[in-house]
Symmetry: C3
Subunit: 304 residues, 3 copies
C-alpha cells in the first residue's frame, strides 16, 4: 500500500491537479517496463492536466479522477468549498501560498455554518487547502483522506500492470462539476471508436452495500446507465466468482455524468469499493473490497 | 387508437427502452409500405436504443422520447424514482425480475414520503417498476399512464404516413436528465445539416392552456427558444387555421434541453397536446388536441 | 460613454437578442475602418444571433454576452423571469406586442412573491419586458440597467480598436442557462485551434472586491478555472501595473460554464469590473474599474 499512501499525500484539489499529474507521468515512465504491454501515453496542453494511456486494441476505457475536494481561501478568514467536503471544526488543513507552507485548522461557525480557518497569519486569496493526510493501515483496512479517489487511481495503475487492450484515462475536476471527461471522451471515441466505459471511483457504505462484501457494481445513482450494458457487466462478474455487491442509489454522481451527456453513445458503469466516513479526513475502506475491485477490473477489461 | 393503446402497455422506463425500440422497429418494417415515402432507418449499437428515420431531403427533425417515468427497487422494500412520477399509496406497479413477473402496490410513507412496495416476496435490486396500464377511451378523451410520451411517439408515427422530407428521431432517457439527444443531434446536424427541431411531447393543462382548444405551441418553459424560430412557427400555425394555444411557463423541460446545450446552432420549439393528471396512472388528453397536434406537425414539416 | 448609453437602451432579453445583433453588425461595418486591424466578421443563421470577429492570428478568444435579464408575460397579468432579475414593485418595464409599444409597472405580491404588471390593457402572451433604461453618468460612475453586460460588450468593442490578434465573440442566452457558447467554442477551437478564453462580463461589489480598485480577476466562482492558466493571467496583470483585484466566490457563473463543459480543453478566466445593485435598474460601476478592465484586456490579448 506504499503507492496508495504516496498518492493520498499529494495535494490535487479540483482545478489544481498538476502535482499529481507530474507524479503519475514519472511513475508511468518508470514502471511501464514492468507492465505486460507498453501503452501510448497522451498528455500535455491538449489534455490540460489529464493523462490517457492506450494499450493494444482498446474496446473499453477506464476513467479515474485525479482531483480531490478541499477549500479555497476567500476574504478575511473565510473559506469556500471545492466540491462537497465534510466540515468539522478542528480538521487540519494544509496548503501553500507565496509566503510559504501552511498548516491550519478548519473552523465551522455553529450558528451560520460559515467556514473559516485559524492560523498564525492571513492566507492569500485563492489559496487551496486540503485535508492533512494521516494514512492508517491495519490488516483489514486502509484509512486516510482522499481514498476517494486515490484508491480509484491506484486501482487503475495496478490494472495497467496486466492490461493488454484498453484505455486508462485520468481525469480532472470530477469533484467540482467536471470539465475534462467531455473532451477525453470525444478524443477516445473519435480516435479509437471506444464507447464502453468503467468508472474507477469510490462509493458509499450503506444499508445495502457493506464493507468486506466486495466492490459495488452500481445499477444507478442520480443517473441511470443503459440496462443492456450493466447486465453484461453483471453476467461477467457473476461468472467470475469474484465477490461483489449490487448498488442502487437515487443520488450521487461520477465522471459518468459527462459520458451520459456526451454527444457520442457511451455506455458506462460505476464499479468501485465502498468507503465509510465519506469526504472526511477519515475515509476507510476494507482491503477485501480493494482486492475485489482490482480483480473485477481485470476480468471486465478482458471480457467486455 | 389501437396503436396508442399498444404503445402505452409496453414497459420502457428511462435506461431500459429496449422493448419499445423492438416494437417500433417491427412496426416501421411492417408499415412503411403504406407510407408516402420510404425512410432510411438508422438503429443499432451506434444509436443505443434510439431510432432515427430520414425521409427525402430533410430540413427539420422531430424528436419524440420513448422512455417513461417509473421506480427502481433499492434495498429492503424501498423504491427510488426514475424521473418524476406522481406517487400515491395504492398505485399498481408492474415489472419482472429473474423470479418472474411482478404486480405490486406502491406505498408512500405519510410522514417521511419514503417510497416502498407491498408484494408477496422481495423484488430483486435494480428491478424497474412502471405503472400498470389501464387504457380508457371515450368519444372525446383518451386516458392512461404514459400518454407522456407514447402520444408523442404515436404522433410521430402517424406523421410518418405522409411525410416526404424530414427526420423523425425516437430518443431515450428524456424523463431522467437526458443522454441520447446530444448524439442524435450531432449525427443529424453533421450528416444532413439539419438544425431545426420540433419536440413531439405532451405538456400540462393549466389556467392558460385548456383541454380541447388545440395543441400547445410553447413560447418557453424552463428554457427559452430563439424568438425568430418560434415566430415562424406561430405564423405557419396561424395561417393554417388549425386550432392551437400559446403556452408560457417558467418551469418544465424536454428533449430541447440537449438541443439548447448542443455544440450546433439548433433552433427548437415544443409543440404538443396538453394533459391533465400529469405523470400519474390517469393522464388524460382531449382527442381534439391530438388531432390538432398531428395536423400542426403535418403542416409545419411541409412549410418550415 | 455615448456608445455605452446606446447599448444600454437596446432591448435584448435572452432568446431575443436580434435588435442588439443588428446594431452591432452596423456598428462594426461602420467603425472597423478606424480599427488597427480589420477582422473577419462571422454572423448569420449558422451563428443564430451571435457574432464572431477574428483578428489576425488568434491565440485567445474574448466572450461577451449580448443578452439581458427580463420578464416574459404569462397568462392573466402574470410574469415569469428571464434569468434572475431583481424584482421590486414599481420598477418600470418596457416592451412591444402587436398592439403597440408598452410601458408598464412591475408588481410583486408581498405574500406569494408572484410577479405581475399594471398596464392600461392586457399584454399578449410571450411578450418580453425589460427594465426601462435610465442612464446616469457622473464624473466617477455610470449607472443604468444592463451594465451587465452592455459594459462587457462595450469593453469588447473598444478592445477591437487596437486588437491585432485575437477573437471577439458576442454570445446569447448567458443569463438564462446558456446555449450559444457551446457551438461558438467548437467553431473557434476547430477552425483556429484557439482554446484560451477571457470572459468580458460584470461581477459583484463585495466585501473583498471594492469599487474603484480595478477590474476583478476571478480566481473562481461556482466553477473553478484551471490554476495554471489563471496564474499566467495574474502574472501578466501584476507586471503590467494596471490596478486590479482578485475575486474568490463560491457562487455565480458566466459564459465560462459552457467552456468548462465543452468537449475541447478550454482554459478560461473571468476578468471584469464589479457593479453594485446587481440585476436591478440601478446597476452602478466606477469609471476607474472600466478603465482598468479595458487596459487589462489590451495587455492580456497581447501577452497570453
Amino acid at each position: 500500500m506504499q503507492l496508495l499512501r504516496t498518492l493520498c499525500h499529494i495535494q490535487a484539489p479540483s482545478g489544481h491537479e498538476t502535482r499529481l499529474t507530474k507524479f503519475l507521468l514519472h511513475y508511468i515512465a518508470t514502471e511501464q517496463k514492468n507492465w505486460r504491454a507498453t501503452p501510448q501515453v497522451l498528455a500535455g496542453e491538449q489534455f490540460q492536466d489529464c493523462i490517457v494511456l492506450v494499450f493494444g486494441q482498446p474496446r473499453t476505457a477506464v476513467f479515474a479522477h485525479l482531483d480531490s475536494i478541499g477549500f479555497t481561501v476567500r476574504y478575511g478568514r473565510q473559506l469556500v468549498r471545492i466540491g462537497g467536503p465534510d466540515a468539522e471544526t478542528g480538521y487540519q488543513l494544509v496548503g501553500e501560498d507565496t509566503q510559504g507552507p501552511i498548516e491550519c485548522t478548519l473552523t465551522v461557525d455553529e450558528e451560520t455554518g460559515a467556514l473559516g480557518y485559524e492560523f498564525t497569519r492571513d492566507i492569500e486569496r485563492g489559496t487551496e487547502l486540503t485535508f492533512q493526510c494521516d494514512f492508517r493501515e491495519t490488516d483489514t483496512t486502509v484509512q486516510s483522506c482522499y481514498l476517494d479517489n486515490r484508491l480509484g487511481v491506484w486501482n487503475a495503475l495496478r490494472l495497467c500492470e496486466t492490461l493488454e487492450h484498453g484505455i486508462v484515462a485520468f481525469s480532472c475536476w470530477e469533484e467540482h462539476d467536471g470539465g475534462s471527461v467531455a473532451y477525453l471522451a470525444k478524443y477516445i471515441y473519435e480516435t479509437y471508436g471506444v464507447r464502453q466505459a468503467l468508472i474507477s471511483d469510490i462509493t458509499w457504505v450503506t444499508e445495502g452495500v457493506r464493507p468486506g462484501e466486495g466492490a459495488a457494481i452500481s445499477l444507478r445513482d442520480s443517473l441511470i446507465p443503459r440496462r443492456a450494458y450493466v447486465d453484461r457487466i453483471r453476467q461477467i462478474a457473476a461468472k467470475s466468482g469474484i465477490p461483489h455487491q449490487l448498488e442502487v442509489e437515487g443520488a450521487g454522481g461520477s465522471d459518468a455524468k459527462e459520458l451520459q451527456r456526451a454527444d457520442a453513445p457511451w455506455d458506462w458503469c460505476f464499479v468501485g469499493a465502498p468507503e465509510d466516513n465519506v469526504h472526511s479526513p477519515d475515509e476507510i475502506v476494507d482491503k477485501r473490497d480493494i482486492e475485489s475491485m482490482l480483480a473485477l477490473y481485470q476480468v471486465l477489461m478482458r471480457e467486455l
